[in-house]
């Protein structure tokens, strides 16, 4: 008898250093279908897939493939047994060629030597089949992010797997490439392949899914046929409450123009090209765009952390020079970086150190030494004001949850008393409840007259918190819209505007 499910995942539990990230999670995938796995960042989707693929070991729970229980020891084992995966983080050896990457781990061998000719021929055939136009001998670091993503998809397909996991495969693809991917998926479905599809893009989910399973905070919420679902219902399952309740009331009122940016361009890739905009006092300006659109680079350039080729910044009509971060801080700018763990926190240092480090100058006494008691006072004040959950200021910051870490870092910058806050993905990796508090904090800051630029990849967040949204595409500003009047579709279209051509070419 044919098994109903190709892949069955039953009651998987997984914790990392005491924090349970998966609680009794289930997932059943039928052959020849696309099964979307949905949930907010940090809901446990990628963790579950990594357990399946043998990268992590689950604490308990079972996996069945075609009715047979299995437990992959490592990715090699998974690949050999018909499970392949496109990883969210694009795990590639960029110093090597496309060929070397696609066949990595399974180079065809003739006698003892790698059969380069066969690899080239097979890659060519694979690319022809998938309609990819790239020279297989190109080094990956010569490709764009979207091209690299296509290479990764081609690689996953080339294993002829029974189960293919696609973890945010379209995060930086162009419309055309997404269409190509969907054609590939349609063909795989016909061949009876089961596809697990992870994406944040609702339109995609409705276009290609057969079934949807939703996770929230590591727990299994439910599985539904796509026909029985609406966007609202999915969001509801993902968030556990209605969209309206996810965001605090926007009470800030933007005032006069505070900062003016003219013709900002950067020297190194990903490029920022000729960006001009205005920021009002007390305004929250969102920045939307695809991965690689230059959003992070834009705020870094504003902050003086990136080499500029052109660009002028005016504060209240007066030209200022943010040549390096130090000058930017003196001009009362603050930057909350995107990668909190890599560039934001000092993990083993305590909260006092982490909150005061950007403003250490202010704590010098006459002799030039630092005064501890003032630092402690300010830190305690921050913990109270921002409702940071911690046993005390002596705690190492790495022991705090993501949301509380983020609050410490926002607090760090507030101590420098900035006028302009540059927030790059301020809620990444933070759970839903904590997000609300961060939003409230951002709105309060705007209310107190600070101007905020908020880069985010989460559309609902941009729509829920900002006053205006600036959309970037391939380094350019493709539009600035009023949040009240715009739609997700308009923003998506703007984000894709310059993907395949430059602005100059269009003119």
């Amino acid at each position: 008898m044919q098994e109903e499910y190709l892949l069955k995942i039953k009651d998987v539990n997984k914790s990392f250093s005491g924090v349970q990230v998966l609680k009794n999670v289930c997932l059943n995938v039928r052959p020849g279908t696309v099964h979307s796995l949905m949930g907010e960042n940090g809901a446990g989707k990628s963790t579950l897939m990594k357990c399946l693929f043998g990268i992590y070991r689950q604490d308990s729970g079972q996996f069945f493939l075609g009715g047979e229980e299995f437990n992959f020891q490592d990715p090699k084992h998974a690949l050999e047994n018909g499970v392949s995966m496109v990883h969210q983080e694009l795990n590639q050896v960029v110093q090597r060629t496309i060929i070397d990457n696609i066949w990595l781990g399974r180079y065809p061998v003739k006698k003892v030597f790698v059969d380069e000719k066969k690899m080239y021929k097979d890659t060519k055939a694979l690319f022809d089949r998938l309609d990819i136009h790239l020279d297989p001998r190109t080094r990956l670091d010569k490709l764009s992010v979207s091209q690299r993503q296509m290479v990764e998809i081609a690689k996953a397909v080339s294993y002829d797997a029974k189960i293919i996991v696609l973890d945010e495969p379209t995060s930086s693809l162009t419309d055309h490439e997404v269409k190509m991917l969907f054609d590939i998926i349609a063909r795989l479905k016909k061949e009876g392949v089961g596809i697990v599809y992870i994406s944040h893009k609702m339109e995609e989910i409705f276009e290609i899914s057969d079934e949807v399973t939703v996770l929230r905070d590591g727990t299994y919420i439910g599985t539904e046929n796509i026909k029985d679902l609406t966007m609202e219902k999915i969001v509801n399952m993902m968030v556990g409450r209605d969209l309206e309740d996810r965001f605090p009331e926007k009470t800030n009122v933007p005032g006069d123009v505070h900062m003016e940016v003219k013709n900002l361009s950067t020297k190194y890739k990903p490029l920022v090209k000729d960006v001009s905009f205005e920021l009002r006092k007390g305004e929250i300006l969102g920045v939307a765009g695809l991965v690689g659109a230059g959003r992070t680079e834009m705020v870094e350039a504003l902050f003086g952390a990136r080499t500029k080729t052109s660009g002028e910044i005016f504060i209240d009509g007066k030209k200022i020079d943010n040549g390096d971060p130090h000058k930017a801080i003196n001009n009362r700018f603050a930057l909350l970086t995107e990668e909190r763990r890599e560039t934001g926190i000092y993990p083993v240092a305590d909260i006092t150190f982490n909150s005061t480090i950007a403003n250490v100058q202010a704590y010098k006494n006459k002799a030039g030494f630092l005064t501890d008691h003032k630092m402690k006072e300010d830190t305690d004040q921050q913990i109270k004001n921002m409702r940071i959950k911690t046993p005390g200021r002596k705690e190492q910051i790495r022991a705090l949850s993501g949301g509380n870490q983020q609050k410490v870092i926002i607090g760090r910058w507030l101590l420098t008393n900035p006028d302009i806050l540059l927030l790059d993905e301020p809620t990444r990796g933070i759970d839903v409840g904590a997000k609300f508090e961060i939003y409230q904090l951002i709105i309060d800051l705007a209310n107190s007259g600070k101007s905020v630029i908020m880069v985010s990849s989460e559309m609902p967040e941009l729509l829920g918190v900002t006053n205006r949204i600036m959309v970037m595409s391939n380094g350019y500003v493709s539009g600035i819209v009023n949040t009240e009047e715009t739609t997700q579709t308009e923003i998506f279209n703007l984000a894709a505007k310059y993907l395949n051509n430059t602005k100059e070419a269009e003119v």
């Binding site: 795990n91 590639q92 070397d100 990595l104 380069e116 870094e300």
Partner: protein, 341 residues
């Protein structure tokens, strides 16, 4: 034709700067050679050329060993001690039967390949331990191999002192051994022939075998290699094993080349080898490096040392120049791979 000249000469200021930076080290080295040749035109001669190639041979074989480890984002501080270890093992097993103070007075004359195999086996054993420690415990290779450097010196010294005549330099090498290493075939020094053969084999291993390609992948992005089903631990250990083989060969040749061996033989060789790799573009950031790079690096270093000695430059000045050269090379290399912001 015009496209070619365009390609060669029509560059923007930034592109020229880039080109200059990317090739700066070669330019500096040629400048040094130019100074040497101007001061001492007789530097350009067949004899000098031969000497440089001969002197580069063992260094090159050793450099290939550490190069693989550097491609894995590692380094090997114990290289010099491996050379000493292999040298002492080889020399102790290959002394003339009539030499008065033999290490093993009663031992019969061995076939030449037996001590070579012993030296290789010893080096492979300890180098594999290096690899295992690095792969298994995720210890930085700098520290793991520093531990091995010290440990191996102890082991080597105990062995060195255990010979019949006590701890004294092991000389009086078997005539066949001396002939094999220091002789020549059809006018080409045997050492150069050995180095050439090793270069070809290493080129094939690095570029044409699964192991070689896996080495680059693990060095470039270990996570990517892992999720593609490459056994990262096995690959890492194998790279160290290959290094062990090369150290064994290098030490075997070195003992006969310098005519004697003691527990200090090879001291500091790791720095020459690592420096040559870096100058040859084998990057500490991992995943990048070519056989031609190692050859260039080793030749450049030998030419500079030889050249500076040739014009009678004081050895202490040579140290200063070489030291600066290494730092310049590394900073230029890092600049190439540094993420530009």
């Amino acid at each position: 034709m015009s496209t070619l000249t365009d390609k060669l000469f029509k560059r923007t200021k930034d592109e020229w700067k880039e080109l200059l930076i990317n090739n700066a080290i070669i330019i500096v080295i040629f400048a040094i050679i130019a100074v040497v040749v101007i001061r001492e035109p007789s530097f350009v001669s067949v004899a000098v050329f031969r000497n440089i190639l001969t002197q580069s041979s063992v260094r090159l074989i050793l450099a290939f060993g550490v190069a693989g480890i550097i491609i894995l984002q590692g380094t090997d501080l114990s290289l010099g001690r491996f050379v000493g270890f292999a040298s002492v093992l080889s020399a102790s097993l290959l002394q003339r039967p009539d030499y008065p103070s033999r290490f093993y007075p009663e031992m019969a004359q061995l076939p030449l390949f037996v001590p070579l195999l012993v030296a290789i086996a010893g080096c492979v054993l300890f180098s594999a331990i290096n690899g295992w420690v690095v792969a298994k415990f995720k210890i930085h290779p700098f520290l793991a191999t520093m531990g091995m450097m010290i440990t191996l010196y102890g082991i080597l010294s105990i062995y060195f002192a255990s010979g019949a005549p006590g701890p004294q330099p092991i000389g009086g090498h078997d005539e066949r051994y001396v002939q094999l290493v220091n002789g020549q075939t059809l006018g080409v020094p045997n050492l150069v022939i050995f180095a050439t053969i090793v270069s070809v084999i290493i080129w094939v291993i690095w570029n044409k075998t699964t192991f070689g390609k896996n080495m680059y992948a693990v060095g470039g992005n270990p996570e990517a290699a892992n999720v593609s089903g490459v056994n990262v631990m096995k690959t890492t250990i194998l790279v160290y094993v290959l290094a062990g083989v090369l150290y064994g060969i290098g030490g075997y040749l070195e003992a006969a080349r310098i005519g004697s061996a003691n527990n200090g033989t090879g001291f500091g060789y790791e720095l020459d080898a690592i420096a040559a790799c870096v100058v040859g573009g084998i990057s500490f950031s991992g995943g990048v490096g070519k056989v031609s790079g190692a050859i260039t690096g080793v030749l450049m270093f030998t030419i500079i040392s030889y050249g500076m000695t040739f014009i009678g430059l004081d050895q202490y000045y040579q140290y200063i120049i070489k030291g600066i050269l290494i730092v310049v090379a590394v900073s230029l290399d890092t600049k190439k791979y540094l993420k530009k912001v």
